[in-house]
C-alpha cells in the first residue's frame, strides 16, 4: 500500500509539472504550428528569473505573476518578428512547419548562449518548503505539492479562458482551421502570436515552479523540451485536457520505472512516445 501510494502520488506530483511544461508547447505547436525546440530554453529563463527574484527575498510562488507576463511579451514579440515572416513566405503549411522548427532551433542556440553569458553554467538551487509531508506513511515534498497545485490551477484557468472568452474562442477557431478562421474575421497573425506568447508564458511559469523543486542550470532546457514533446504527442496537439492526461501518465510511468530501474526512466519515455506515434499519432485526446 505504502509503495503503491509512493509511486502513484510521486508520479502525479511530477506529472502535474510535466503537464504545465507541455501545455505551452501544445499551444505553440497545436495552434501556432511551431514545434518550438527552444521551449525548454524559455522554461530555463523563467527558472532563472525566479531564482534571481528569490534571492531578492520574493516568495518564489509569487514570482509567477512577474515571470508569466515577461515571458508572454517575449514570446509575442518573437512570433511577430520571426515566425509571422516565415509563415508569410512559406508556400504551404508543410514548409512553414519545417522552417519554423529550424528557426526555433536557432532560437535555442541564441537563448541558451545569452543565459550562459548572464548566469554562467554553475548549478543553482534554493530551499523553499523543502520538507516532507506524509500520506498514509508515504513521504513527499511539500514544494512539489505546492508546485503541482499551482500547475493544475494555472491549467484550469487557462482552459476556462480558452472555452469562455472571445479571444479564447478565436484561438480555438484558429486551431481547428486557421484559413477559415481568418475568413470569419479573426486577425489570424495576432491570434497565433497570442498563442505563442501564452506558450512562452507557461514555459516560464513551469520554469519558476521547477526551480522550487529541482536544482537549475543554464543547460537544463533541452531535457524539458523533449519531455514536453513526448507529453504533447501522448495527450494530443492543442488539447489542454490532453496535456494533463499525458503529463499524469508520463509522471506515473516514470515513477513506476524509476522505482524499478531508474536508469531506464528516460528510455521508457521514448518507448511510450514511439509506440504511441505508431498506434495513435494524434494522441489520446487528439481529433
Amino acid at each position: 500500500m505504502e509503495q503503491f501510494l509512493d509511486i502513484l502520488i510521486g508520479g502525479l506530483l511530477i506529472g502535474a509539472i510535466y503537464s504545465l511544461v507541455s501545455m505551452g508547447l501544445s499551444l505553440q505547436y497545436g495552434v501556432a504550428k511551431v514545434l518550438n525546440i527552444a521551449h525548454g530554453e524559455f522554461l530555463m529563463f523563467g527558472a532563472f528569473l525566479t531564482f534571481w527574484l528569490q534571492q531578492h527575498s520574493i516568495n518564489p510562488l509569487l514570482t509567477v505573476v512577474i515571470v508569466g507576463p515577461i515571458m508572454f511579451i517575449v514570446g509575442f514579440i518573437l512570433y511577430r518578428t520571426v515566425f509571422t515572416g516565415i509563415r508569410m513566405k512559406a508556400a504551404h503549411q508543410g514548409i512553414f512547419e519545417s522552417n519554423a522548427m529550424l528557426a526555433a532551433f536557432g532560437l535555442y542556440f541564441i537563448v541558451q548562449n545569452i543565459a550562459v553569458l548572464i548566469w554562467g553554467s554553475t548549478p543553482y538551487s534554493y530551499s523553499y518548503l523543502s520538507k516532507s509531508f506524509s500520506v498514509f506513511g508515504a513521504d513527499f515534498f511539500q514544494n512539489r505539492l505546492a508546485a503541482a497545485i499551482f500547475a493544475i490551477g494555472i491549467g484550469i484557468i487557462f482552459y476556462l479562458f480558452l472555452t469562455s472568452t472571445r479571444t479564447g474562442k478565436a484561438i480555438r477557431a484558429a486551431a481547428q482551421d486557421s484559413a477559415t478562421a481568418g475568413l470569419m474575421g479573426v486577425n489570424i497573425n495576432y491570434v497565433l502570436a497570442l498563442c505563442f506568447g501564452f506558450g512562452a508564458a507557461m514555459a516560464g511559469i513551469a520554469g519558476s515552479l521547477i526551480s522550487i523543486c529541482y536544482p537549475i542550470q543554464t543547460s537544463m532546457g533541452l531535457g524539458y523540451t523533449v519531455i514536453a514533446i513526448v507529453v504533447v504527442t501522448l495527450g494530443g496537439l492543442g488539447s489542454i485536457p490532453g496535456s494533463f492526461i499525458g503529463g499524469f501518465i508520463l509522471g506515473v510511468i516514470g515513477s513506476i520505472v524509476s522505482s524499478w530501474q531508474p536508469g531506464l526512466t528516460t528510455a521508457s519515455y521514448y518507448v511510450i512516445f514511439i509506440i504511441l506515434l505508431l498506434v495513435r499519432p494524434k494522441g489520446l485526446m487528439g481529433k
Binding site: 509511486i7 510521486g10 541558451q112 554553475t122 530551499s127 513527499f140 536544482p215 524509476s258 531508474p262 528516460t266
Partner: protein, 394 residues
C-alpha cells in the same frame, strides 16, 4: 644517446593548446575546474617574463578552442591545435569520456597532454601505448575508493547502497566501489544507475532508507548531487556515511547547504591545513576564481602539474616533445603539492599517473564548513566523523 634538438631560434613563445567546454552542458568546468588554475599559472609565468628555455625567456600563450561539450568537436579541435597551430603542449578537455577521446589524438601527434578533470580507469590499460599522456587527477580506483572503503571498514560499516550516473564517470566509480566493498566484506545492497537527464531521486532514497544501509554512495554530477541532498534531507534519510561526488568538493556546495553538509563525505581532498604552501595557494586561488568556485579536489593538483610542466620544460632546455617527455617521466620537481613525480606505464615508456604520495588527500569530509582530509595516513587534517550527524532541524 640521442642529442637534444636545439631550440628553434625563431621561437618567441610557448604555445599551449586546449579544447574546452566553453559552451554546452559541461561549460561550468570553465569556471570551477582546471581552466582557471591553468590560466592563473600562465599569468604568473608571464608576469615573471616567461620560462627560461635554453637561455631564452619565453612567455606562454594559451590557445583555447570551444568544443561545445561535444566529443567529436573536441577531437577535431585537438587535431587542429596540433597540426595547424603547432602547439607545443596540450591541456586536456573536461570529463572522463572526453579525455579518452582526446588522449589518443594528442598521442598520435606526439604532443604532451596534461589531463585534468576526469578519471582514467578505462584508460589505464591504454597508457602503455600513450607515452605523451599524463593524467593528473586522482580518481575512483586511483586511490580514492580504496581509501574510502578502508575508512568505512575501520568504523565497522557493513552495508552499502550505490547510485551512479549512467555514463562513463558513474560507471567507473560504480565498478571500483563494488569491487572494493566486496573485497572488504561490505555488502552492496543495491547499485542503481540514473539517467543523465532529469531524475527523480525519491524512489532511490526511499529504497535506501528502507534498507537501512550504513553507507550511501552517490556517483553523479553536481546537479543530481544537489537534488540528492535535498531529497535525503526532506525524507530524513540519515545513513552513517554519505559519499557524494563530484560536486561535494566545490565550495558552492557548502554555500548551498551550510550546516546540513556537516559530516558529508566527498572525493578529493585538500584544504588550507594540508601544508603552508596549500594555505597560500588557497588564498591565491580564491582571489582568482571566487569563493563559490573553490575546488577542494582538483584545484591544487591542476596548478601543481602545470608548475611541474614548466619546470620540466626549463630543465629540458627545449620545447621538443620527446626531450620534455623524458624529463617528465624521470624527474621529480617541487610544486605547491610538494615534491611530485609521474609513474609511467610500461616501465617508464608509457603515459603517466601521479602516485598516491603526491596528492594532499583522497577523501574529504565537511566539518564546520571545512572540507577536511580524513585519509588514514599522514595527509589527514581531521578525524573521520562516524556516523554522520543527523540532519539539523531547520
Amino acid at each position: 644517446m640521442v642529442t637534444t634538438p636545439p631550440l628553434d631560434p625563431n621561437k618567441t613563445e610557448i604555445l599551449i593548446g586546449a579544447s574546452r567546454d566553453i559552451t554546452g552542458p559541461q561549460a561550468g568546468f570553465q569556471e570551477y575546474g582546471a581552466a582557471p588554475m591553468y590560466k592563473m599559472w600562465i599569468d604568473e609565468v608571464n608576469a615573471a617574463g616567461g620560462l627560461s628555455v635554453g637561455g631564452k625567456k619565453l612567455p606562454i600563450r594559451l590557445i583555447e578552442y570551444d568544443d561545445a561539450s561535444d566529443t567529436a568537436a573536441c577531437v577535431r579541435n585537438i587535431e587542429k591545435l596540433c597540426t595547424q597551430e603547432h602547439v607545443d603542449f596540450l591541456f586536456g578537455p573536461t570529463g572522463t569520456a572526453m579525455l579518452f577521446a582526446a588522449a589518443p589524438i594528442a598521442n598520435k601527434y606526439k604532443t604532451i597532454m596534461i589531463c585534468g578533470e576526469g578519471g582514467a580507469t578505462t584508460l589505464e590499460p591504454k597508457l602503455a601505448s600513450m607515452p605523451y599522456v599524463f593524467s593528473a587527477l586522482n580518481y575512483s580506483n586511483h586511490f580514492q575508493i580504496p581509501m574510502f572503503v578502508d575508512l568505512c571498514v575501520e568504523k565497522g560499516a557493513k552495508t552499502a547502497y550505490i547510485c551512479y550516473m549512467n555514463d562513463l564517470h558513474g560507471a567507473e566509480y560504480n565498478v571500483a566501489a563494488q569491487g572494493q566493498f566486496a573485497l572488504n566484506g561490505i555488502t552492496v545492497v543495491e547499485a542503481k544507475s540514473i539517467p543523465t537527464t532529469i531524475a527523480d531521486l525519491d524512489p532511490i532514497v526511499k529504497e535506501a532508507k528502507a534498507a537501512n544501509v550504513d553507507i550511501f554512495c552517490m556517483f553523479a554530477y553536481p546537479n543530481q548531487n544537489i537534488l540528492l541532498m535535498q531529497t535525503a534531507i526532506a525524507l530524513d534519510f540519515n545513513p552513517k556515511v554519505l559519499l557524494i561526488g563530484p560536486g561535494c568538493n566545490f565550495e558552492f556546495f557548502n554555500l548551498t547547504f551550510g550546516a546540513a553538509l556537516e559530516g558529508v563525505v566527498g572525493e578529493g581532498a585538500w584544504n588550507s591545513k594540508s601544508s603552508p604552501a596549500a594555505a597560500a595557494f588557497a588564498e591565491k586561488a580564491m582571489a582568482k576564481v571566487g569563493l563559490p568556485n573553490m575546488d577542494w579536489w582538483g584545484g591544487i593538483v591542476y596548478y601543481s602539474v602545470a608548475e611541474f610542466l614548466g619546470k620540466a620544460i626549463e630543465k629540458a632546455g627545449t620545447l621538443d616533445s620527446d626531450t620534455v617527455r623524458n624529463v617528465m617521466a624521470t624527474e621529480k620537481f617541487e610544486t605547491t603539492l610538494g615534491l611530485i613525480w609521474w609513474e609511467c606505464a610500461d616501465g617508464g615508456k608509457g603515459g603517466g599517473l601521479l602516485p598516491q604520495e603526491c596528492y594532499d588527500g583522497q577523501i574529504g569530509q565537511w566539518q564546520s564548513g571545512i572540507f577536511e582530509v580524513i585519509d588514514n595516513d599522514s595527509h589527514n587534517t581531521a578525524p573521520f566523523i562516524y556516523p554522520k550527524p543527523l540532519w539539523p532541524e531547520s
